[in-house]
Amino acid sequence: MFNILAIVTVIAVVFVGFNLLSGAKGYAVTSPSMKDTLNVGDVVFVKTVDFDSLQVGDIVTVASSDKGKFFTHRVVEINKTDRTITTRGDANGVDDPMPTEAERIVGKVWYSVPLLGFITIGFSFVSGSVGLLILAGIAVVLVTVNCILTKSKKRRGESDE
């Protein structure tokens, strides 16, 4: 158990550290509008991008005007004069109804990881304090299980002797 916990923790720390150091921001995919490319439950990691370096076909994350909500769609048209882009969800039959201004582009999708977004989706159903309690509970369970397994292994070792 100790070894498994150690391996999982190292992987998690490296992964989180890598993303924090690279400056990438993660977003959990919660709708199927980019189905097949990005599925519900994926986490997309997004890096800031210059408007001028954007290309048709890039997948970008865009913020709402109050920067409180986000969507991630593919760029289908770039208007350099107006500094706007037209986006579309791969699974949608039509382009998004309005062009997006350059200022609202959070960044370009760097890479995505499946399933991790379900952590975000799961925690979105509970309040912040309940979320903290759940996290504390997970920590307690991990430590307890580790203690129990270590003790039982020790006992087995003693009885074998």
Partner: protein, 208 residues
Amino acid sequence: MSKIKKLSAVVMALTLVLCIGYFSVMSPTSAWFYNSGVIDSGDSFVFGDLSVDTSFTSKSVQVFDGATKFADPDEILFDDVIKVNEIHVYNSGTIPARVYADVRTSGEGLRWFVYDDSMLVDGSVKKTIESVLPEMTDSALMQYNVGEDGNGGHYIILNPGEIATVKVATWIEYDFVKGDIENGEESDSYDVEISLIAAQDVDGAFER
């Protein structure tokens, strides 16, 4: 050594939990037209910059005192037997939207018809149904409600800032109920779930 191992386990567990916490506080990214609407309880569906499939659902138990049949030309009490469910819809966003309806029930024989007052013919729902369906059959009614292959159906367009009252008439067909209810001597209750779905005002933007 054992103490160091125990301490390391605690530190690792806390570190792992912090990593889980990192994912738990990420922002969600959704479809264009993210759901920023307020869904009031009861009979109001208010949406703003809405999701492609932002929906409002109202669940109720509906008691029907009698059964009827919309396709029966001799059925003159149709409008007296049906239940009319009214839902106020408000587009508080900046983009025109379509509002579709859907009705689900576990009971057999329940039929529904979505309309608004501007469609009413002589104030009669039955006459309105006759005016919009090419023929008075279940399949024509279904096609009107949910569209061909269940994709689409009748919708009401709401421009930004507009309010409308969407009406959903429900009834049970007498072919599917016991004689007493058919004759109005007993009542039968159905769990009915009425959903309104707001979507972009373009074809293909909404699929059931």
